[in-house]
Symmetry: C2
Subunit: 152 residues, 2 copies
DNA sequence: TTAAGTGCAAATATTTTGCTGTCAC
DNA sequence: GTGACAGCAAAATATTTGCACTTAA
């Protein structure tokens, strides 16, 4: 029986521990915030949510933990086309890469998986002899709703 | 007869003037730096090169001009997988979108055009009803040379 | 016990803004 | 002549670093 898409919480924590890293109170909190986020969060939002759970979490620890997770390939960093200043957003690395589409009018972020994208990555690896570690495909434009609204 | 790939310099300048924008001494210099760049430059590098041509160019003017060019869709902003801090890099918007590949070992940036990428964009527009204005596909990994070197 | 991790303060890096004076058209 | 633009200073934003203290293993 295949596992459901939404894995049990604590996966990030298990991954870090299996790599021999120390599981501190602060890390546990930050990991749970990242893991249960319903949208893409930036460092300040992660800090705020972490402090709701435990006021003793420092901004620097958030940055250091995000950097750790990124180094270990457990989260991906997004820019979302720089629509909200120069913030970076984070999400748990998905099982299958997806595309981020940012609506330049309403700001909505949508995600899209595509076989063509998977094939494109294969083509890059073959044709360029390039071993892919991480990809980021971001698209800026107008979503269905805003397209219609503009036309009206 | 089709135009050659490498257009005559001054194209950016012509584009801005045709949009009714003022062509100042500073803008002319910054545009020529961006236009003749042989690699992707960030704001500070553009400033430095501009000042070699005319010491009377301010950093703020570089930022304002880059922002103007971006708003008009004449240049694209790249992050190059944040390999060199949080700088942004700029390039004239190409006639055909390409992929940027950043080697995590040697730092080399390569570019790649692909029909699959063009088809993927078409798929996004159709399947998501999303009107694409700008795309950015960046890939981090290991280039052919560094792959070999690591294996050795 | 002890090396890894945290917090605090300060530094660094990048980009933006307010305002006054200048110049392209 | 006039409104768009440039320069300067200062602010805002985002992230990193040094160092002493704390804690997980």
């Amino acid at each position: 029986m295949p596992l459901p898409q939404t894995e049990a919480p604590g996966r990030l924590q298990a991954e870090l521990m299996s790599r021999g890293l120390r599981m501190t109170r602060q890390r546990r909190i930050i990991l749970s915030v990242v893991e249960t986020a319903k949208q893409h969060l930036d460092a300040s939002q992660i800090l705020r949510k972490a402090r709701k759970l435990d006021s003793q979490v420092d901004r620097v620890t958030v940055y250091r933990t995000l950097s750790l997770l990124k180094r270990h390939g457990l989260i991906d960093e997004l820019d979302l086309m720089h629509m909200q200043g120069e913030k970076h957003f984070y999400e748990r690395r998905p099982q299958r890469d997806h595309i981020h589409m940012a609506c330049l009018r309403c700001g909505k972020i949508s995600e899209f998986e595509s076989n063509l994208f998977d094939r494109l990555k294969g083509q890059i690896q073959r044709d360029c002899q390039f071993h892919i570690v991480v990809t980021r495909l971001e698209v800026g434009g107008y979503c269905a709703q805003c397209r219609t609204a503009s036309a009206a």
